[in-house]
Chain length 382, copies 2
Amino acid sequence: MKEIQLVLSRRIGKTPFEERVFEQGARMFTVYNHMPLASIFRSSQEEYEHLCEHVQIWDVSSQRQVEVAGPDALKLVELVTPRDISRCRVGQCMYAILVDEQGGIVNDPVLIKLAEDRYRLSISDSGVLLWLKGIACGRNLDVDVFMPDVCPLAIQGPKADDLMAEIVGEEIRQLKFFRYVRGRIADMDLIIARSGWSGQGGYEIYLEDSTRGLALWDAIQEVGQKYDIRAGCPNLIDRIERGLLSYGSDMTLQDNPYEIGLDRFFNLEKEAECLSVRALGRILREGIKNALVYIFVSGDELSSPRHTWDLLDRGDNPVGIVTSLAYSRKYGSNIAFAKVRAGFSAPGNILSVELGSGERRQAEVVTRDWRRVCSLAQRKRG
Amino acid sequence: MKEIQLVLSRRIGKTPFEERVFEQGARMFTVYNHMPLASIFRSSQEEYEHLCEHVQIWDVSSQRQVEVAGPDALKLVELVTPRDISRCRVGQCMYAILVDEQGGIVNDPVLIKLAEDRYRLSISDSGVLLWLKGIACGRNLDVDVFMPDVCPLAIQGPKADDLMAEIVGEEIRQLKFFRYVRGRIADMDLIIARSGWSGQGGYEIYLEDSTRGLALWDAIQEVGQKYDIRAGCPNLIDRIERGLLSYGSDMTLQDNPYEIGLDRFFNLEKEAECLSVRALGRILREGIKNALVYIFVSGDELSSPRHTWDLLDRGDNPVGIVTSLAYSRKYGSNIAFAKVRAGFSAPGNILSVELGSGERRQAEVVTRDWRRVCSLAQRKRG
């Protein structure tokens, strides 16, 4: 793949933090929800090692916010997710997969309950605003659906607690996972949640005034010097090691939550009306046809595929595709997510991967926990 | 603005033509509807000159297709656009702006009528699929809304007619603007429309089998050699000279069609039910507050802004923003689209543009036709 340059026109939104991201050396980007999102500063491996040891500051403005407010806010949110939102309290976040009336995954946002009649979705890369507006409009719901001027900034890594305690006070250490509080940084009142798209723990801070982005960044970075803070971004190696799926890569509107293994977040018995319940019930009755699995891919370090790599069975029949891949030094192997036909999803199954170049590699399906497999493999070897 | 590299993951869809686009030297890209779209091969100026004289082949797969099919297809399409679709016949295309229930512009697609119960929208960069699905789902309409495996390839420039006549037959020359026929290229049956996002005329060909993209490209390019065909892409200079607006840059969900000057495509008296009619009527009664205008910006050649450039009145009050800009040798000036408060939209108004750097330039509001203004300016000077 040749190096190609990204042009940032007005159509690609400007983030309140991007000046710092450019200054601090981000050189590779993607576009996510019509906004720039850094992919690499120096190298994924170097950034991975730093993230696992220190603390990083990430511009994740591209996790756009869709707010639902008004008398029918809960009704609309319940309609679009099979998760039971009635159990969510103010101060809480929920991973609330959105599913359409055919059982397809629309998005996998984190839902934040701001008030009984006000919810905010921190979305992955798809048109959630128009989906929710369309349903509200079609059903004549009494609700506002809009994108507020809110941009998340993530503080991730093992030193995130020390850093944030120094900035907003020691109490923040007690904040539980997927809970939020209001805190004060750089003279701004902000929502601070214990959440973030890494396996190393940390916080997401929601900036509510985009003109103050650099002030927020600088205030955190100044205190962060002693913790060796660096600008960073969601890291491919970390996210695959941790099992964090990416909407658009590992799941799309063509996939249902059973295939992707996201059904552990809901059951079909919630009381509120929900668009997807009937389709999900039917999918369950008819049987799950595909499964997202973890695989080890043998041999030298591979880079993440641009082309879709096919997975073949022993008879060379295509039985799936690789969706995300990185080389993990921790596990000494290429590790990947793949979608395979249900009959091929059992741990231990051996498949081959057809690389774009024509080369083939062996792939082994593993359980959905790299650590268990590795200790198993070590025991087998021992 | 530093050079930054674009990373193409699986989340950014692969187009059926992209191998040729890379091979033929595209070096700058944007992401449009989750797909790569070339912005520049060598330079905008060089490509502009070639486009005005010869013929180009453009991968515009990123104009994604949203298909609406079934008994309620017309009903859904009428709901989402204020344009009267009942007058559209099979074989015809229509520029059908989509407007929401608050009067905001959702998208400005070209609608293609395939059958009485089947329409296809060739969309600009926003989540039309989910918007239409949301409304259909909320209203319980009997209609399928989906993205078919269809990718447009544009053939643009003054030699497009000669080229296409040689490929599909002389009759194609008779095809009127915004009409389509079915033709045969490289053993494929294809929809061929006289349309495209340039001011130089040409065709859009709709590939219906993404595995055959390179075959289609190669068949056209082979015949195109004698017409000096080159790979190209939508050209910023050409589109501003021609007055072609870009969704996301020149209009957004926050703008209504009156402000953008797109009300010439509809009136509020169509018979079918339409979501936006009430809001549009109210906007009209309350008065139009902003206007998209053409402006000349004085001085040396400027590059298109990343930041939003403010327009100031004589008292230094902000009265608008520049939305797209290019330097036109034809008109000997920087030419731009701008959104200004209605009181400042009259031709002849002098404003200043505050460039990101702190520099200021003079801006003159002109009528919405560069040519008329230029001849006027010449007469004044003469």
